[in-house]
């Protein structure tokens, strides 16, 4: 390989060949960084920098997930996890499989009802609170601090606090409702099967509305002020301004917040587990999974349920991302 052939400036001599020529002809440049150009060195360095995080995430995320999916195809049990047999889709479609289990379908129903109710309430309330927060006012700092209180309180703690407030005999809620004459007899908020899921929704709304409000607020603050000013100059009524200007402009942000909350609500565990334990009437899919997996020791069966939940959420994420992309493109156009 002659150097002259490679030297033809700007010609098609590939970088690899150039580098080889350099290695051979310029021994004084014995630098480890010689392979590839500076940009290539940078990319290699980027991989090294990302590697620790990617490895950790693979080890604590991807690998356990794959193992869970694998376990779902076996009859593994917690007492002796090494000793299991491959049983195909038995855990899903077998005679005693997931799809034939009333408890599972009850858990699915509970989860969907919980998600639907809490996310819609949180969206409405979050929007209201975000509009409150978007006002320049002396109350603003106080409002924001108050907003973050329910959000920062551990879910377990809020579940306990509300359980106590909703206590059927000594709870402050029953006490005041009785005193006001709204109810005739104390309600068993967390024990009554008719009520318990709604109590759980109530606590979730209390706890998660702030998160929703913050995300919507961020979207609100990106609406350019001159839009409002133009509308005011045109004399558009306030309700119309909200409906025709604010809402369309914050819609992408609102949707993102709703998707995040929905995916979060679908995997609800702490709240339900602490407030009503493993009660069948309120059991969510996550609670069902843990009960099968840990309490009953059925690793295979529980993993099958977990896999179902995972694929449900994955499917929903993909659909949501597609929808959001469309909305974003419309908003951008």
């Amino acid at each position: 390989m002659s150097r002259g052939a490679l030297r033809c400036s700007g010609a098609a001599a590939s970088r690899a060949e150039e580098v080889m020529a350099n290695d051979i002809l310029r021994p004084r440049l014995q630098n480890a960084a010689l392979r590839g150009g500076l940009a290539a060195q940078r990319v290699r360095r980027a991989w090294w920098m990302a590697a620790p995080m990617l490895l950790v995430l693979a080890a604590v995320g991807a690998w356990p997930l794959l193992r869970t999916i694998w376990f779902s195809l076996t009859d593994s049990e917690l007492s002796n996890p090494g000793d299991y047999a491959f049983i195909g889709l038995e855990n899903y479609v077998g005679e005693y499989g997931l799809l034939a289990s009333a408890d599972w379908w009850q858990a699915v129903g509970n989860t969907l009802l919980f998600t639907g109710l809490s996310v819609s309430l949180e969206t409405l309330l979050g929007l209201g609170v975000a509009l409150l927060l978007n006002q320049a006012s002396r109350l603003r700092t106080l409002l924001r601090a108050a907003l973050l209180v329910p959000w920062a309180i551990p879910t377990v703690v809020s579940a306990k606090m509300w359980s106590w407030m909703l206590h059927d005999q000594f709870g402050i809620v029953n006490h005041h409702l009785l005193a006001l004459g709204v109810i005739a007899a104390p309600l068993a908020w967390t024990a009554d099967p008719q009520l318990s899921l709604f109590s759980i929704v109530l606590v979730d709304v209390w706890k998660a509305t702030p998160y929703m409000a913050l995300l919507i607020l961020a979207a609100l603050q990106m609406v350019p002020v001159d839009c409002y000013e133009a509308a005011r100059v045109d004399g558009v009524p306030r309700w119309q301004v909200f409906r025709r200007i604010t809402l369309p402009l914050i819609l992408p942000g609102l949707l993102v917040a709703m998707v995040f909350r929905t995916l979060d609500a679908l995997r609800v565990f702490d709240l339900i587990y602490v407030m009503t334990s493993n009660s069948r009437d309120t059991q969510s899919m996550s609670v069902f999974v843990r009960q099968q997996l840990i309490d009953f020791g059925l690793v295979g069966y529980g993993s099958a349920a977990a896999t179902c939940l995972f694929f449900m959420i994955a499917l929903l994420s993909i659909v949501a991302m597609g929808l959001m992309r469309r909305t974003f493109e419309r908003a951008a156009a």
């Binding site: 030297r7 033809c8 400036s9 700007g10 350099n22 960084a33 150009g37 500076l38 060195q41």
Partner: protein, 378 residues
Amino acid sequence: MSRIELRGISKRFGDTPVLNDIDLSIAPGEFCVFVGPSGCGKSTLLRLLAGLEDPSAGEIEIDGLLVNHLPPAKRNVAMVFQSYALYPHMSVHQNMAFGLQHRKLPAAEIERRIADAVRILQLDGLLQRRPKELSGGQRQRVAIARAIVRQPKVFLFDEPLSNLDAALRVQTRLEIARLHRALGSASMVYVTHDQVEAMTLADRIVLLQPLAGRSDVPSVAQAGAPLALYHHPANRFVAGFIGSPAMNFVDATVKALGDGRVLVDANGMCCAAQLSPQGLAVGEPVTLGIRPEHVLLGEGAQRARVSHVEHLGEVSHVYLELPGISTPLLAKSYHEKIALGELLPFDLPAQAMHLFRADGVAQARGNAAGRSVEAVDG
């Protein structure tokens, strides 16, 4: 000594060529300015030298050492950025010391170098300040000081004055020129879009032209001493870029060829140009060029009507309407009493004329003729 050699350098971003086929040699101690309109790739060329970008083809040698694959820090160059790029969380002192500490220099040596830089750039009393507590001019000087302490063989400046206001720009320009003399042996490569900076600072100007997506156009329009580019532009692009206000261009055809003389016809106006007739043919379309400062007003055989006058104080810009030519001919005049609509006699001296062929290449001028143009100047 630190000679920079660029051989066959090309750079493309994706499919878009940014720099084509650059061969350039920068002598030790030389002050070399890359100038050109925006999009000509001058900053990219500087970044290739710095090692912040890879060339797509070609070789870069600094001091006889091929540096294509050396990271910036190993090239013995220092760079002053347009935005200064001072570390915002470090004091002025730390900003200067940071790089030196990483080269494991002894502390005493670091302090000595910083003290030198502080003296040269008058940074006394600022050492403990953070960049945001400094004025624009002070930040600029700190950025230069940070380059000086590294004692590089080559200084690279990327439009260092563009963030300063006009008065400070002139002052800092002088300071950089002084610095270049003081540092002696180090080469400086300086990027600017401002031809005044280029003309005043450069030992040599490298004028780059935008490629507009073509890969068959050379990037370097002309390289040479500032006055060489002014007096002997190699092509129409150079002629139009250097000089302010820009050169007048008039379409014309060759009428007759003589010994060291070319006669052209510009829409009925007949002019002589003291240029080599080599390669020209009678009837060939050409472009006539003459700088506004070379148009003689108040004498000569031609006459034209004044369509507009701009009084700048020291000089006036007079726009002359020529029959059949859409753009008026611009002339500089030191007379203030020129009235709009006046019919003025003017002359286009043959020794100040430039002629460009259809492909933009300038018609060469004999040595004797070149000198006579400079004489017109004086």
